[in-house]
Point group: C2
Chain length 400, copies 2
């Protein structure tokens, strides 16, 4: 967990705003702005879904230079399945933001989240950008965190500090998402901001690895949205000597960025609508990390395993079935499974005597399923939630 436990209000050299511009019928905040005082090193990871929001297309184009100075996010409308008009809208959001900040439109990354298949209401968005630009403040991180929310139960913020080359470096992140729960208002968005000085060429692999270890290791329903974005901006205000690829400070900064992203990622799993459990599925003894991930995700995504989590049912059939379904040549006789510290499968056979101990583990709000494949040395963890009545209610009834 991050060392800085108090919720941060900002990061040196960044200003924030979150306003309501009328996209959400509820009148809640729906437009966020983040601006750096100067150009910042930038690295991003976007959705792998083949159906992408034009906002993602525009953002990917702008971040390619490795430098950005602002982020503009609207919630309530995903600008997805909106065609060439949607791409024009995304670029217009950037141009309007740039105009207010006196920067180039290519320095702005746009994000959208919300309903799919409907064009953005550009009048409202332009008014929102003007209001947000006027409201920008160094201590308004929380406002921005609120303005990117859709179905989230609350804003998600995490932070850390570390020492790099004798300077204190600040890192803070905001995120939204409750898994790909309600695609009408879906998407996972995360913005991590730091005052570290770091070369874009060093930041890029850092952000990719941190994303793989965190946001790419969580699953609520196995689906990926059209708009998922993880962005990191590093504005260099801390004054450390610039971190280069393989150079001093790279490890410590990556560790802290990963720490912040992991806290945000677990907040997303725990915030899955109807979620009552946060479960780590740990696989070791695999021949490769890729095979460990396959097994972990097959178990973590199985509807039958997830309903068993909800039902607090330690029956081994569901775990063994899911492990066998992963497309990995596992050897049944080599498999061990434990719930917390309670072994329930040993060498492929049920350990029948300790079921009440296993039930007790599953009654906890958070526990680990530990799967040992006995085939090699590779391991991984993924985090998932349970599948309960509330999930179905929210996902089937939300239009009515």
């Amino acid at each position: 967990m991050p060392r800085q436990v108090k919720t941060p209000t900002g990061v040196p050299g960044f200003r924030f705003a979150g306003v309501a511009c009328g996209i959400k019928q509820s009148g809640r905040k729906d437009l966020a702005l983040i601006a750096s005082e100067g150009p910042a090193a930038a690295a991003a990871v976007f959705t792998k879904n083949r159906v992408k929001s034009p906002s993602v297309t525009a953002g990917a184009r702008h971040v390619r230079s490795g430098r950005l100075q602002a982020v503009v996010v609207n919630s309530g409308n995903a600008n997805a399945c909106t065609g060439p008009g949607g791409l024009r809208d995304a670029e217009a959001m950037c141009a309007e933001t740039a105009r207010h900040l006196g920067i180039d439109a290519g320095q702005v990354l746009p994000s959208s989240t919300g309903i799919i298949g409907v064009r953005l209401p550009m009048d409202k968005i332009n008014r929102g950008i003007a209001a947000a630009a006027a409201a920008l403040a160094p201590d308004a991180l929380q406002d921005a965190a609120q303005a990117i929310m859709t179905t989230d139960n609350g804003p998600k913020i995490a932070a850390a500090t570390c020492r790099v080359g004798g300077r204190t470096v600040h890192i803070a992140g905001i995120a939204k998402g409750a898994g790909m729960i309600a695609p009408n208002m879906a998407t996972m968005l995360c913005y991590v901001l730091t005052d570290a000085a770091v070369a874009p060429a060093a930041l890029r692999p850092m952000v990719r690895r941190a994303t793989d270890a965190t946001f790419h290791a969580i699953t609520v329903d196995g689906d990926t949205s059209t708009n998922d974005t993880v962005l990191c901006l590093a504005n260099g205000v801390a004054g450390n000597s610039r971190i280069t690829r393989g150079g001093e400070g790279e490890d410590v900064l990556e560790r802290e960025i990963t720490r912040v992203m992991k806290e945000l990622a677990l907040k997303i799993v725990a915030d899955g609508e109807g979620t009552t459990k946060l479960v780590e599925v740990r696989v070791d003894g695999a021949r490769s990390v890729a095979e460990a991930r396959k097994v972990a995700f097959t178990v973590a995504n199985s509807k039958l395993v997830k309903t068993a989590f909800f039902g607090q049912d330690p029956n081994i059939g569901r775990f063994m079935m899911a492990i066998g379904n992963a497309g990995v040549p596992v050897v049944e006789e080599a498999i061990d499974v434990a719930l917390g510290r309670v072994k329930v499968v040993r060498r492929g056979l049920a350990v029948g005597t300790r079921e009440s101990a296993a039930v007790k583990v599953m009654q906890r709000p958070s526990f680990t399923v530990h799967i040992s494949l006995g085939m090699g040395d590779a391991s991984t963890s993924v985090w998932t939630s349970d599948l309960g009545h509330e999930y179905v209610r929210i996902n089937s009834d939300y239009r009515t």
Copy 2:
């Protein structure tokens, strides 16, 4: 649909029995026997799950010769995750059946379905085999269909007849399964019996293709059990000249076997616990059948799509998101989606004006989602169910 609508009671040259031997605490029938009057050509398809029941291992070994004379099935215990002892139990079931019928143990295929991780109660099973052998009757197909049930709401039987070389050939099948719904009592089993004379070398590819087009094209929850088995026995009593590979009668017999299997497969989807919808996901315009299947199954297995079916919600976001997630390089601008005959996506853009017509389609108990990828000529269909409150209730509460 099969031409013969009346539920059949048997197939010439086969005898059937279904008895209660006490594996199920409810006292319901739990042991089925099917016996041919002579050796029959045999072909089977088994689960691809790496964690297999020893009953499957034994059955796969016995069917390799292409000749079988009997099937013994117990329900209530899956004989899975039972190790070497479980394999001895499966072989002992075959030996005991063979002893009563006066045939070789290698002529018997054993199947098991039910709770995982518990050894078979062999005393009860041996008594059940004796009782079933004594009860064998040519018109007791329904008894066998009942004895293989676990969570099924009722027995599943389908039948067809056709003309081969001037002779009338009979085909009947029984199946159990409500999707891989409750692994404690899970598995899909299907036995298709025909009096056609057919060479094992012709029967094998026929059964494989028919299974691909039917049982391999349904999904309730995307999981595959440890015991899934499809077996076809052809005893030749019809007296047609033996059908050989590529020879006369092959096409018509395969068509009718496929017809029977499809009826049984759709009965399994419709019987999914908590299921209120039977939905065909049809994909065309794909570059290959493999890619069409990937897209169809990604849509058909998406928890978000399935809850939308339950909620009768034609919002296109869920369909487009799932299509984009299939790992197929689809082109968003080329995608059309229709619900029944109501187009909801045209060239990647929402067709916003006919939503009430789309809702009406989804209110039906059965409808088609038609996805056109616009990339090629390949197409496929898969069948799925919705994901509703009852699914979660049954799969989380069934132990309590």
